[in-house]
Assembly symmetry: C2
Homo-oligomer: 238 residues x 2
Amino acid sequence: MDARLPLYQRVRDDILGHIARGEWRPDQPLPTEAWLSENYEVSMGTIRKAVNTLVQEQILYRMQGRGTFVRRPQFRDSLFRFFRQLDQDGETVVPDSRVLSCVLETPPAAAGKALAIEGQDGSIRLDRQRMLQEDNWVHEQIWLPAERFSSLLQMDVAALGNLLYPFYEQYFGEVVASARETLTIQLPDAALAAFLEVAADQPVVNIERVACSYGGRPIEYRISRGRADRFRYQIDIS
Amino acid sequence: MDARLPLYQRVRDDILGHIARGEWRPDQPLPTEAWLSENYEVSMGTIRKAVNTLVQEQILYRMQGRGTFVRRPQFRDSLFRFFRQLDQDGETVVPDSRVLSCVLETPPAAAGKALAIEGQDGSIRLDRQRMLQEDNWVHEQIWLPAERFSSLLQMDVAALGNLLYPFYEQYFGEVVASARETLTIQLPDAALAAFLEVAADQPVVNIERVACSYGGRPIEYRISRGRADRFRYQIDIS
DNA sequence: CAGTGGTCTAGACCACTGT
DNA sequence: CAGTGGTCTAGACCACTGC
């Protein structure tokens, strides 16, 4: 507790500590603002400012007349930030997905650099198939730091559901909070053309993604490839 | 002004109105909190709450001891995310641009809808050429509401510089603050293939952009088309 | 130095929830 | 009804800026 920090920040950090230690739990109410005000010996305005910052960070939520609660981490909102492919009607497409393989390997240079993998630390590579109405839609290669995800090798990856990010969070405590994507257009190699069932001179879209945690630490490096003629990508810039 | 809304929201909306109308401009200070408090006849706490929301929305920024300022939209940065070619050193290359024509026309359906052009109000259409080292790089069609941009028809559009958004701001007081882009891949029609000097079976990237002001009011509808093999698009998601 | 935003207090009244 | 968060006020003092 750094006494140089403003009061409301110290209160905010202390509240967050109670949550992190599991003393105040998801969907349960915090003590009332009046109680916090008395026990921290600060005014209610300062308590409100501290709680407000945590509400903004989506760690707490308020319900007027009932109380202030610890938020249960919601996968849904964060997930749909990362799906930018639309169908013809502008609706977000969430295809069915299946993990095809899971192996330990030395990452290629781009993946190793993106994940800041040093020396002899390896990576876990998943190959993944995304389908849309029985068609192979996208082929994905995913690299994860072996250091943090090693137990994946003992799991039945074929049983994984459509969404990997909730899975990362549930089993490894890794929350994807931001990502950088780079799009390019290329011609497929023979294997990819066969997988997508397109001619070798039909262009494919190449999406490279580096996904990071709240602190900006890299979690996942992913390359997704799909046929260009069905591709539609929308983004809001501000 | 809805009197049922909380005071701080009405103040926030009114401040935003001044910015949207260009009365309070980027990088210039707002009136002081004391002045706002007196003129809106609310307490400084309420003013601070209103200003805080706009700071969080990244529309204002504060500098202690100096004042509160209108943030200059970081939109120019995002411009260079598009159609950028990296040279050997990985540096961004900025294309030269030239406006080819400027006419009054009835907008096509998509442009009219995006710009909310009603009835007999027309649009001004610019055709624009973006070049990179003597090559035609991108062809752009741009629609603007005739109602707000009519004097463009009397201007020497060939003399316009590389960047249109600063020009909109300087001559029409229209500040582009956000945009939505949709990317697709298509085959070029004959005219576009000739312009880009590519074969008719070479895919092109199609970027549709709706650019809006602070208040979310549409300012510009733009379609940019360029050859896919040189395309590289990077975006940060959070 | 005067003027700005940054923090903090100690109240007030209102709107909503559950009993 | 009592208890919760939501809004709002009118001050106080501090930290920083520019002159």
